[in-house]
Structure formats: C-alpha cells, structure tokens
Symmetry: C2
Amino acid sequence: MINDLSQELELLHERVCPALGDTTRMRLLYALADKPCSVNELVEALALPQSTVSRHLSVLRNRRLVLTQRQGTAVIYTLKSKKLLEAMDMLRDILREQIQDENELASKLDLQPNLEANP
Amino acid sequence: MINDLSQELELLHERVCPALGDTTRMRLLYALADKPCSVNELVEALALPQSTVSRHLSVLRNRRLVLTQRQGTAVIYTLKSKKLLEAMDMLRDILREQIQDENELASKLDLQPNLEANP
DNA sequence: TATATATATCCGCTTATCCGCATAAAAGGA
DNA sequence: TCCTTTTATGCGGATAAGCGGATATATATA
C-alpha cells in the first residue's frame, strides 16, 4: 500500500513495531542482549513484579522476537535475531545524536532542552 | 539501571521507541524514506484524514525523528537521520527472517503459521 | 482586507494497553 | 502424593492512545 513495502511485510510490521514501542519491553531486550536470562533474573534486573515481566516476555515471544527454553522449572529467554541487536544499536546512535543536538542547542540558546515526553 | 544503558539514554528511549510503535507512524517514516513530503502528499499516500496524519507527524517531530520546513503554505517533512533508515531496514530484515521461518515451519507441519497479532 | 490553501489543534469518543494481585500451571524433589 | 520453586494467565481497574470531524492558525494572493 505504501511504497515498496509489500502487504505481507506491512502486516508483520504491525506485529513487530508495537512490540518495540513499550519501554519495559525495550529494557527487557537490552537485558537479553547481554545474555540469556530466566524470568526471575529479569524480574530482579528490572525491579518489576513478576507478572508484569512475564506478560511482556510473552508479547516478545508471540511476536517472535525472543526464544524460550526450559531449564528445570525455569524458563530461559534469548534474543532470537542478531539483527534485532543491530537495530537497537542503531537506535542508540540516533538517541546519541539527539542528545548531542540538544546539548548544542541548549548551550547556544542558554535554554533547557525542553523536550516533551508526550506531545 | 539496566546494563550499560545510561539513564539519559533510557529516558530518550522512552521518547523514541513509542514513536516507532505505531503502524501509521511507521508508514509515514517509510514514505519519508523515499523523499521529503508535504502533509498533503502524505495524506494522499496513506489515504488517511488530514488531522490523523498531522497529529502523527507532530509526534514524530516532537520526538525529533523528522524535520520540518515551510514552503509557502505547505510544510515539508523530512527524515532527520539516515540511521533511522538503517534501523528500519534492519527491522525489515528481521521481518523477512520471520516470514521465512514461519513458511518453513508451516510447510513442515502442514499448518497455518498461526500468528496472533495481539496475544 | 477578503479569500483560498495548507496545516495544526481542539474535542469527545472509542479502543487498546498496561498494571499487579491472585491464582493456575509446570517441573522437580522429598 | 505433597510441597516448593518458577513461570504463565485471568481478571478488573486505571490510563493512555488513536480516531476524525470541526475549527483555528498560518501563509499567499488578489
């Protein structure tokens, strides 16, 4: 419908992009980028209730962004694709560029960066 | 708080990632990846009401993902960073991997891919 | 100033999403 | 089997996000 993005890709985009839109899920992905983790490890790392962590993990799994593997009673979550890591690194770079831009702007105008989290 | 992701980066992540989480905004970004566009051009390309397009564009602008520039009465929107494009390409690759995986799985098991859009 | 064009914003409404307690389900050990 | 540990899910409530018509704002031109 738009550009050369096929309908199939667009459908899948609807599946993946919203998964990345949640900050908690983003933090989970960053944690998993370090190493595979059990739910409990993630609960401790993020300091969130277990039900919250589990639910977000299930979203990531349903969207095929992470893989799971049982180890006794524990479930180990792993990032599925290296490319997801690369994409996340790219996002970090974008963020760093933003920080730089805003610091420059702030020092030029002698103003606070004035960023609205939610316009 | 999590890994080596500094607090500042985490705050910015909260600003950028949710912006990418909406399908309409994703389509806008893809359209702008082709070439800078006015609001009207985007309205026609996406076949959405003007107010809807404008609102999403303002989100993207507030999150510093696009730049604007007036041309007479029109406002031209441009992708701000090349890296955003690269990150989007990376996401496409991930999606293509998913498609491949699921097709293989489906042919092996003689099943429908069975993907839930919303777990 | 009046009119036209293009964009941004206001508003009410609907829907989706997130949260976390409580509880179910899965696996292992006594 | 009973108990423990670990993870997943049902549920209700609160919040956020999206939608789109109507309207305001900005710019250009006559």
